[in-house]
Symmetry: C2
Subunit: 199 residues, 2 copies
C-alpha cells in the first residue's frame, strides 16, 4: 500500500523543490499532517499563494516589491549614483543584511550561461544600459558571482558600457572561486565588497 | 532592508519545518516566487490544506486514511491475526514498501520518552490492549525503533500483555542500535523483520 493520494500530492510538491529529496518530502508532508494545526496550515497555504500574487519586480531595479517601486529605490537617503549589479534577488538580500552598501541595485535575474542556453537576451541587461544612459549613475559595481557564468556576464556588461563615462568596478575575489554569493559567510562578502577594483 | 512581508511569512513557514534552517527557507521561498507558476502554487496550497482536512487516523490501526478504515484494514486478503506495532505512520510505510508483511498494523503515535515528558498515556496503548482482548490477534510484532524509547515502549507493552495467550515478537537487532526505522535501508529492515524473536 502506498500513501493516500491526499498526501502523495503534497510529497510531490515538496520533492519538486530544490534540494528536497523523496525521503525529506515524505517527512515534511507527514510533519504537516501530524504536527501542525489547521490554522497554521491555512496560513502556510495563504502565504504560498500571496508570494506570487502580492509580489512583483520593482520597475527600476528588479528587486521584490509589493508596490510599484521597491523600498530601496524609494528610499531618498540611498545614493542613486552607485548601482550594484547582482544576479539574483537572494544576492541583493545578502548584501543588504551587511548594512554597508548605501547605493541602489540592478537585479539581472540570472547570468549568461551558454552551456545551459541562457544567452545575453535572457537576463535584464537592456534595462541596465538604459539606466546608465539616463546619466545619474556614476559607479556600477558588478557583483555577479565568482563563477564562469558570473565572470562572463560581468565582462559582457563591461564591454557594452566602455563608451560611457562611468566607473565600473568588480567585487574582489574574496569570494572563493566557483562560489555563490548566496552561500558565502558575511565576512567573505564584506571583504569582497571592500576590495572591489576597477574593471 | 529586509524581505517584503509577503515572503517573510513564507520563510517563517518553511523554517518551522523539521530540518529546514533559515537559509534553506529563504532559498525555498524565493524558488516559489521565481520558478513556480501561479497554478502550481495553488495546487501546492490546496494539497497542504487537504492533507489535514481529508486525512484522519484509521479507526482500527491509526494509519492515515481518507475513509473510516484504512486500505490495509479493509483489505480482506490481509492476515488480521498478525499485528505489527509501529511508532509512527512513516514506519508503517517503510514496512509496506518491502511488500513482505501481509498482516495488519497498530500505530502508537510515538514512543515512551520520560525525558521529554512522553508517558504511557501519550501513546495509543489502550486501544492496542482492547484489540488484543477481542481475541482475533495471534501474534504481535513489536516493531518499535531500536532506541531507548522504542525498547522501553516494547517492554511496557509486553508487560501489559503477559496474561494473554498471544505470541509477542520483537523485530531483530538488524537495525543498528540507536537507529530509526524510517532512515534504515530496506535490506536492514528486511533482515530485522526476518530475524524477529519471541519477546
Amino acid at each position: 500500500m502506498d500513501y493516500p493520494k491526499s498526501i502523495l500530492g503534497l510529497i510531490d510538491n515538496f520533492s519538486s523543490l530544490p534540494g528536497i529529496g523523496k525521503k525529506t518530502a515524505e517527512r515534511l508532508a507527514l510533519h504537516i499532517y501530524s504536527n501542525m494545526n489547521k490554522d497554521d496550515i491555512e496560513v502556510f497555504a495563504k502565504n504560498l499563494v500571496n508570494v506570487k500574487s502580492n509580489l512583483h519586480p520593482c520597475k527600476v531595479c528588479g528587486n521584490l516589491t509589493e508596490e510599484e517601486l521597491c523600498p530601496i529605490c524609494m528610499d531618498e537617503t540611498r545614493d542613486k549614483s552607485q548601482v550594484m549589479v547582482v544576479e539574483n534577488i537572494k544576492d541583493l538580500f545578502v548584501i543588504e543584511k551587511l548594512e554597508v552598501f548605501h547605493g541602489i541595485y540592478h537585479v539581472l535575474g540570472g547570468a549568461i550561461d551558454f552551456s545551459n542556453g541562457i544567452g545575453v537576451e535572457d537576463i535584464d541587461i537592456p534595462h541596465l544600459i538604459e539606466r546608465v544612459k539616463q546619466g545619474e549613475i556614476k559607479e556600477l559595481i558588478l557583483a555577479c558571482n565568482a563563477t564562469l557564468e558570473g565572470e562572463t556576464t560581468a565582462r559582457y556588461i563591461k564591454s557594452l558600457l566602455e563608451d560611457y563615462d562611468i566607473k565600473i568596478t568588480r567585487i574582489a575575489h574574496g569570494l572563493p572561486v566557483g562560489g555563490d554569493i548566496a552561500y558565502a559567510d558575511q565576512t567573505t562578502v564584506l571583504k569582497a565588497l571592500e576590495g572591489r577594483r576597477n574593471y
